[in-house]
């Protein structure tokens, strides 16, 4: 960075020539330093752009070592376009994205968690990608996650869901057969009770507590499986206080005496140490458990349904989608890159490298990998009946209300009926306010 420093010193010297008070050696150095600092700070961004050609700025969450080979392939296929990639973290990515939009300098293409979408869509921040979606509709799944009133605001890229993990050894020690995992609510409760009561120092089920923000993802699968929901199909009325939801919450809380009440990461640690019979978690555990707990025998099952005769095996549907902001500088190349990234030959390597979410590309889901990996296949099956939260303009507020009232019920501060009634009333009030 020779040029800025040269300029900085020149500015300081120029000042003296114009007859300003003479300063000693040290203050002059300070002045030069200040000028240099200001010049460097005034530079428009510190990240280098391609000297010629076009640049697409792409923010995403995968490790750079995993995504870079795919982007290099894109650059080879599109000479003259350089991808400037940056890795976000799930802890602070949302803040960084919001700040960049507010500053008028968003990335051209951005990976977004599906839970970010409602707020961004409500605020008309994202480019309408319906025309691109029309072309890609048959080659991708997960459109419901990115579609609002028939318009698509992102492309489904990777899909995720949660399923039920079982500790096979604890099942056997409790006299249960892990080959016949709990398929109904009653079987789930029975298994949790047997493990918690027959095996010292073990708990039957992992119930989330101490992290309010994920409670709806853990409880709603039971409600959805029982025919319940948060809003009616029109999205204009709260149905949170429905009989189906109350039944589901009563059942969920009936697991509490046999459960470990803790945060998700603690559940996963306890499961890894062989002290937890069942947890609801995502496919990332399939990659980490063989390394962190090589002696642990575990299996994965679909989420239990209310009974053998009724309901569905529902789970939470998450997705990592690709969105383009309306104020992005290079929308055209961003669309080109998005179309490239969702292709099956590009999503499969990313899935194999990260293992956290599955390709949204339909043909990738038929990849031979899944035939030889039955545990991954369970997740693919679970995705088919997984439910995504609605793309509602007031979703952030609704989610907060649901989480808060569920927490009250889990901590025993309210009965299931009172908690869901209060949630219903608060959501109804929120729906009447202007977004």
């Amino acid at each position: 960075m020779g040029t800025p420093s040269d300029r900085g010193i020149a500015t300081a010297r120029g000042g003296r020539k114009r007859g300003r008070p003479a300063v000693g050696r040290a203050p002059r150095a300070l002045l030069a330093g200040a000028a240099l600092s200001l010049f460097v700070l005034a530079l428009p961004g510190c990240t280098p752009r391609a000297p010629s050609g076009r640049t697409v700025v792409f923010w995403q969450f995968s490790p750079l070592a995993d995504i870079r080979p795919i982007l290099s392939k894109f650059e080879a296929e599109n000479p003259g376009i350089t991808v400037q990639v940056e890795q976000l973290t799930w802890q602070s990515g949302r803040e960084k994205i919001v700040t960049s939009i507010a500053a008028g300098r968003p990335p051209d293409l951005c990976e977004l968690g599906s839970t970010f979408l409602p707020g961004l869509v409500a605020d008309s921040t994202l480019l309408d990608l319906t025309s691109m979606a029309t072309v890609l509709r048959d080659s991708l799944v997960g459109w419901n996650i990115v579609t609002d009133h028939g318009r698509a605001y992102a492309l489904p890229w990777m899909l995720g869901t949660r399923a039920l993990y079982l500790n096979d050894d604890l099942f056997r020690r409790a006299g249960l057969d892990p080959a016949n995992p709990p398929a109904t609510w009653a079987e789930l409760r029975h298994a949790a009770r047997e493990i918690a009561t027959k095996i010292p120092d073990a708990k039957g089920f992992g119930m989330n507590a101490g992290e309010r923000e994920i409670l709806f993802k853990k409880f709603m699968p039971f409600a959805w499986g029982n025919g319940g929901d948060i809003l009616d199909p029109t999205g204009t009325r709260s149905v949170m206080g429905s009989r189906q939801n109350i039944e589901a919450l009563r059942f969920y809380l009936s697991l509490k005496p046999y459960s470990l009440l803790d945060r998700q990461e603690m559940h996963e640690q306890a499961f890894q140490k062989g002290r937890l019979g069942m947890i609801i978690s995502g496919p990332w555990l399939l990659r980490t458990l063989p390394e962190t707990a090589p002696d642990l025998h575990f299996s994965v099952a679909l989420m239990p349904r209310p009974s053998a005769e009724r309901g569905t095996s529902a789970s939470f549907a998450g997705a990592e989608v690709l969105g383009i902001f309306r104020t992005a500088k290079n929308k055209e190349d961003a669309q080109r890159l998005a179309r490239f990234l969702v292709r099956p030959e590009n999503t499969m390597p990313l899935f194999l490298a990260t293992g956290n979410a599955f390709p949204a590309a339909t043909s990738a889901q038929a990849d031979a990998y899944f035939s030889s990996h039955p545990l991954d296949r369970v997740f693919l099956t679970q995705i088919r009946t997984a439910v995504a939260p609605p793309l509602h303009p007031r979703w952030v507020e609704i989610e907060e209300i649901v989480n808060a009232e569920l927490e009250e019920a889990i901590y025993g501060a309210k009965t299931p009926e009172a908690a869901l009634d209060d949630a219903n009333r608060r959501i109804a009030a929120a729906l009447t306010r202007e977004p």
């Binding site: 002045l31 101490g210 992290e211 309010r212 803790d262 603690m266 507020e397």
Partner: protein, 288 residues
């Protein structure tokens, strides 16, 4: 030093303060009078003092203020007392004084995020503290999942992390006390306790006042600990004012409202500091 050098010497700091202190402050003050969603800059609305009125009417604001006040009131005297005690012990150390000073100061060199992550593991059901309880035949404690224990657990961590820094400040204050004054007091037959009470304590009172003010400001700003450990839960038992502000700003995109919360916080801290300074400052002067 020549007269012209002084203003130039403070120029870098003045410019930095102007650009990174005053300008953002003025910008935030402007924002606090608006309804401003950063994702919809086209929908800015003038509210005047509306955000302030909304905040003062909001139960969440008062709950967050109450939690923050409990945190300040709970940590300040304990931190101050322990820091004073540690400084007194360090002052008497005859061997390996540098080692003890460095060891006590060590937590101050760590990032609060790192400290909070370590304590998250220590407080876990399978963590070290629970293994000690289990070894003692006691039942496990849900430090961060129990609504009654979460805030005290964070306060305990914060006290541990702060003591060293304040102890070194107080120790520095003690070191300015001339040895011959202490020697004379001892020759006059004053006991260790009397020397501490009548000579040392009055001498370090200005430093203690500084520690009180500094710790009050820091405690009102508590955020990282809550963000890493509890996210305001369970049952909002650890929802502090700055975490509430962050939640409104970055999850609800209510930048105007969040800015109003920041200025209310500034107002509260300012009032408390003035009261503390008047009360303790006067006593510190009397003590000298």
């Amino acid at each position: 030093m020549r007269h012209g050098a002084r203003p130039l010497g403070v120029l870098p700091w003045t410019l930095a303060f102007l650009f990174f202190g005053l300008l953002p402050l003025a910008y935030a003050l402007g924002l606090s009078l608006l309804e401003f969603n950063p994702l919809r800059p086209d929908r800015v609305q003038w509210l005047g003092l509306g955000n302030y009125v909304d905040a003062l009417r909001s139960p969440s604001f008062w709950r967050a203020l109450r939690t923050t006040a409990i945190f300040v009131v709970g940590t300040l005297p304990v931190t101050l007392t322990l820091a004073y005690g540690v400084a007194a012990l360090l002052a008497r150390a005859r061997r390996a004084e540098s080692f003890f000073r460095a060891a006590i100061f060590f937590p101050a060199t760590l990032s609060m995020v790192v400290i909070a992550l370590v304590f998250k593991s220590l407080y876990a059901e399978e963590g070290l503290f629970n293994s000690w309880l289990a070894a003692g035949g006691l039942s496990r404690v849900h430090f961060l999942q129990d609504a009654r224990l979460a805030l005290p657990s964070i306060m305990a961590m914060d006290i541990w992390a702060s003591i060293g820094y304040y102890a070194i400040l107080i120790l520095a204050g003690r070191k300015t006390l001339p040895d011959d004054q202490l020697e004379a007091a001892r020759l006059e037959g004053l006991s260790t306790w009397e020397v501490e009470r009548r000579i040392v304590f009055p001498h370090v009172k200005p430093v203690l006042l500084f520690v009180v003010l500094l710790n009050t400001i820091r405690s009102f700003q508590i955020f990282i600990e809550v963000f890493v450990l509890t996210r305001g839960g369970p049952l909002e038992s650890t929802l502090t004012l700055v975490y509430h502000l962050y939640d409104r700003a970055f999850y609800h995109f209510e930048m105007g409202y969040a800015s109003a919360l920041a200025f209310l916080l500034l107002l509260f801290v300012g009032v408390i500091l003035v009261v503390q300074r008047r009360f303790l400052g006067a006593r510190a002067e009397v003590g000298r």
